[in-house]
Subunit: 123 residues, 2 copies
């Protein structure tokens, strides 16, 4: 199973890629049969291909991602981060708490993002 | 299903009770067949009776619980809080991120607490 250091590194890499990486790069962090629910309560994207499609929606948006706080426990992580999105001048800040479960190979098996419109601020 | 206001109120009540309430009061927030995994990766307590026993361990410890930040999404909540425990002079601060799933009656169906020794500070 992945150790805390691997999980911590993957969370940091995930945030770097969400800010400046490609949908392919982000999808490669996930297991083949992974699931993404972002936000929680919304559609669940199942499998790496669907997950790649989900991230492709924001691939070309100028973004900055900053980790606020991270907890690693067992083979899971929970982290609060700040995502600043710049849509050609009009921007917004979203501050989700994400939860990731990792599989035995250290890939992300599931991701759930806890946020709602109440956590979105125009900037 | 419970709305965001109910979930928010229950999280606040949970923290109040963790600080100053009884194990019975805390257990009453949970569904009959609820599960508690605290910390994630540790033992899973199944059912309200086992959950009551888990909280009874810290029932008589002087404690303070402060919400740092809360996200409500779907019928779930994720929140970062600061728990200060005072064991007759020697104290510690733990800062978990907890995730709760709520059932259709607004009871807590599951709680998972994300923290490790790295998130415990002696005071």
């Amino acid at each position: 199973m992945p150790n805390a250091e691997h999980i911590t590194q993957t969370v940091h890499r995930y945030l770097d890629l969400v800010a400046t990486g490609s949908a392919d790069d982000i999808a490669a962090l996930y297991a083949d049969d992974a699931t993404v629910e972002d936000p929680v309560g919304g559609e669940v994207h199942i499998g790496r291909s669907a997950i790649r499609g989900f991230y492709a929606n924001v691939e070309n948006v100028k973004a900055k991602a900053e980790l606020v706080t991270l907890r690693v426990a067992g083979h899971e992580a929970a982290f609060h981060f700040r995502l600043t999105l710049d849509f050609d001048g009009s921007g917004m800040v979203i501050e989700p708490i994400d939860v990731m479960v990792f599989d035995s190979e250290g890939k992300i098996a599931s991701m759930k993002a806890y946020w709602s419109q109440a956590d979105v601020t125009p900037v």
